[in-house]
Amino acid sequence: MASGAPVPLDLTVNGTRRRIPGDTGESLLAILREELDLTGSKYGCGEGQCGACTVLVDGRPVRSCITPAASVAGKVVTTIEGLEEGGRLHPLQEAFIEADAMQCGYCIPGMIVEAAALLRRVRSPDDAEIARAMEGHVCRCCTYPRIVQAIRKAAASSVRPAPAGRAKTGLGDRT
């Protein structure tokens, strides 16, 4: 714990600049949840083993439960709450709904954030690449096959340009 006057923490969360008064050496997860009331990122293990707390820092996935808040000063943080754009779901969010890739759903925000980072790196990952990227995430309900399927669907919907006419244009258009 730092002595003297606490230093405020400046960061950008989901596109908004935030100043957190008095950094007390907390985790990024605690700041997001308790200070900013962004509770989509979950506590699951506290040791970076389950992935439920995953957020993007400058576009890279990190385990916010073991990331000191001070280490993201001046950086850009994206949480599950920041993936929608103008009320439109991210293709991954659509795909998870379509594939019924959830049961209790507690792990899902972390899964989707990690997958968003994966799809930025690899436009069309195969199942093995998906499993490798997601290995650090636990779904205790074990919906793993559906999560893989959802990520594949989302990848397919983002790489394929929307065809004209009445053809199915991907996940945005449910028929």
Partner: protein, 724 residues
């Protein structure tokens, strides 16, 4: 439809379904809110059929004069349905909504399920034992059916026509001849119409279901994928701003059985600045504005503990065979005896005996135990993730010495349970802290607390002795389960002489319910033993099972799984094996085929699983498939590597980095075959598919290596010396 009590029978749970707690009996309180509701209100009263089964053991409610469910149709057409069941990922919110929409003939999106709120919903013993679908869905259907007929009566009166000439569809009552139609809400005209029903109400048979019986997405899926859904651990009670709530932590002893001797003055006084400290008997807890402050305050406390000697791990199997020190409440069922094993078995052509065991395993619900407690005007409200809202309310009343009408428990849709969230300790902790703090307090257990201080699936030892005749037909079957439980202990295989018995044990660790509970242990022992007999007689494992099986539903799933798997052509070879197992529990049937590869170094990989599952009429095929898939992969954890390690009252692997759970790379290609029996009532499905995994995998390992593994987990560190 086969006969079944129309209402959920008073609980006949396995001993561990409700772990140790206090006996209770709820009276139905005055439900003030009923007076506030307008529109159509239908109350379903549980009655005779259930009360005949009640009055045993002082457990659970007497169903008599209890409300089972209720339903309200508001003027705007919104249908509110009240049930004491909770949503923990098993998808009851969606499937029960489908049942109501189907029977009421209302659009699915007009149904709003209010679940697990002790002020609003009827008493319910808990969400476990795969009972929501077989028991709650028909009750809600009855309420819906009565409401539908009541709406028709209203329309008939209004339009001066005969009710039988009216049609109901999509939330509208219409009269074809006059061309009139009106929405449900319109018909209520703001009047309050209350109808109470009991007894038999004809329900729509599965062949004529429209909304039920098909796949619809999970109801709050959008809130889940956006992170908007608030689990208990995400809540702060309105009107309090999140900043007004405190975060609580509780002081834990160093080992099981330790009690607090004294609490010394704290090491660093400033760590307690602005922190609420509660020291009340054995309970010591803190509450602070931030969870990190609470953790710091807790670490600054200097407790002294009285330790009591606890058993060593190596004593486990002996202790499980010893009867409990104090007979716990709960019944020990008498042995199941048919014929005389003692007389018949010595004369059998082939005799075999073996002992099987299962380890303690942890539920590891990804959302740990969590509770938010708020006191207002002498009344306590606790939001908490539990499978037993009314049981937790009872625990709160007892612990805090409160009258029933002073406590409300609300269960937000919860981050899973698997039988692990029956108890109310976290709720009590939050409530105790909040009472002193005078502000709402949230307690979320750490993962380590969850591993150390929750309860486990019981460990067990199972002895099996069998006798088989020269034609490969069972003559005698004797099975004794020590400690792990009696679920699915009976065999579906035909054996003229049987002795099957469950013996409570002296568990060194706290134990309780789990997905399928002892059904996994009992199936592992039984199906493994069937495999051993088949191997000894040089019979195909499937052929041997079918030869001893008359039950048509069990045969059907075995045959369906074998066909999809290609069992007839699946030839095992060194390092590459196939296994099969059948199972029956909670009214549903499963058969599982496993294909396993064993590396020369001993690593075991399950490369394919096929399961056939039958649970009567299917309500939501895709969500059912989801449950079956999840059960299979979760079952792989307990089959292959999950085990709680302990010694002398201490859990040695209380972190996810040390307790291995299935991950993406453990998940093999899966195929699920659903047998939809529209002629049979729907049964629960969240549990049964787990039971066949371990024996099928054990059989496949044997086929691949010749090694017969009789302890779960089978290969926590790989096979020691595979005989490839």
């Amino acid at each position: 439809m086969s006969p079944r009590p129309p209402f959920e029978p008073a609980l006949e749970p396995e001993r561990y379904e409700l772990h140790e707690g206090l006996p209770y009996r709820f009276e139905l309180g005055r439900r003030g809110f009923l007076h506030l509701l307008g529109g159509v209100v239908v109350l379903v009263v549980a009655h005779d059929a259930a009360s005949q089964e009640s009055g045993r053991g002082g457990r659970g409610p007497s169903a008599e004069s209890e409300l089972a469910a209720w339903l309200n149709i508001a003027e705007d057409g919104t249908v509110s349905v009240f049930t004491g069941k909770v949503e923990v990922g098993q998808n009851a919110r969606t499937s029960l909504s489908q049942a109501v929409a189907d029977e009421l003939k209302a659009p699915l999106d007009s149904i709003r399920l209010v679940m697990g709120d002790t002020d609003l919903t009827p008493h319910d013993a808990g969400t476990f034992g795969s009972r929501s679908t077989p028991y709650m869905a028909p009750q809600l259907r009855k309420a819906a059916a009565v409401a539908r007929e009541l709406l028709k009566e209203l329309a008939a009166k209004e339009w001066g026509v005969d009710a039988t000439s009216l049609a109901v569809a999509d939330g509208q009552v219409s009269h074809a001849i006059s061309g009139r139609s009106a929405g449900f809400g319109q018909l209520t005209k703001g009047q309050k119409l209350v109808r109470t029903l009991s007894g038999e109400i004809p329900l729509t048979p599965a062949e004529r279901w429209s909304v039920a019986g098909r796949s619809v997405p999970k109801q709050n899926a959008r809130d889940i994928v956006t992170g908007r859904h608030r689990y208990t651990s995400d809540l702060s009670p309105a009107p309090f701003a999140p900043s007004e709530m405190l975060y609580g932590r509780v002081l834990r002893p160093p080992a099981l059985g330790a009690t607090l001797a004294s609490l010394e003055p704290v090491a660093a006084q400033d760590a307690l600045q602005g922190v609420v400290l509660v020291s009340d008997g054995d309970f010591v807890g803190v509450a602070a504005k931030r969870s990190s402050e609470a953790a710091r305050a807790l670490a600054a406390l200097r407790p002294k503990w009285n330790l009591t000697p606890q058993p060593e791990a190596r004593e486990l199997l002996d202790r499980l065979r010893q009867p409990p020190e104090a007979p716990r409440e709960g019944r020990q069922s008498p042995p199941h005896v048919v014929g005389s094993v003692a007389e018949a078995r010595p004369k059998a052509a082939h005799r075999l005996e073996a002992t099987y065991s299962v380890a303690y395993i942890a539920h590891v619900p990804l959302e740990p135990r969590a509770a938010v407690a708020e006191w207002k005007d002498g009344r306590l409200t606790v939001w908490t993730g539990t499978q037993r809202p009314f049981g937790v309310k009872s625990e709160l009343c007892e612990a805090l010495r409160l009258a029933e009408d002073r406590v409300r428990v609300i269960v937000p849709d919860t981050g899973s349970g698997y039988g692990g969230k029956h108890s109310g300790e976290c709720a009590i902790e939050a409530a105790r802290l909040a009472r002193t703090a005078g502000r709402p307090v949230k307690v979320v257990w750490t993962r380590e607390e969850e591993f150390r201080w929750a309860y486990f699936r019981p460990a067990g030892v199972i002895d099996v002795k069998s006798g088989t005749d020269a034609d490969g037909r069972l003559v005698a079957w004797e099975m004794h389960n020590y400690n792990s439980g009696s679920s699915a202990i009976r065999t579906l295989y035909e054996a003229p002489h049987q002795h099957i018995e469950f013996h409570p044990g002296r568990s060194p660790l706290r134990q309780g319910s789990y997905r399928g509970l002892a059904a996994t242990a009992n199936h592992f022992a039984r199906e493994s033993h069937m495999d051993e007999i088949a191997a000894a007689l040089k019979l195909d494992p499937l052929e041997f099972r079918l030869r001893n099986l008359k039950d048509a539903r069990q045969r059907a799933v075995l045959e369906a799984a074998a066909e999809r798997f290609g069992w007839a052509k699946a030839k095992s070879a060194p390092g590459h094996g196939h296994g099969i197992a059948g199972g029956f529990e909670k009214g549903s049937y499963v058969a599982t085929c496993a294909e396993v590869k064993v590396e020369p170094a001993g690593a075991v990989r399950v490369v394919r699983l096929v399961a056939a599952f039958e649970c009567g009429a299917v309500v939501n095929p895709d969500q059912l498939k989801n449950q079956v898939e999840g059960s299979l992969i979760m079952g792989l954890g307990g089959a292959l590597f999950e085990a709680v390690e302990f010694d002398r009252g201490e859990i040695l692997n209380p972190q996810l980095s040390r307790y291995r759970v299935p991950r993406f790379s453990d998940s093999p290609p899966l195929e699920v075959v659903l047998l939809d029996r529209k002629d049979l009532p729907s049964e629960g499905a969240g549990e049964t598919p787990i039971v066949g995994v371990a024996p099928a995998v054990a059989g496949a390992i044997h086929a691949a290596t010749g090694a017969r593994l009789r302890a779960l987990p089978l290969v926590p560190r790989g096979l020691p010396s595979p005989r490839a």
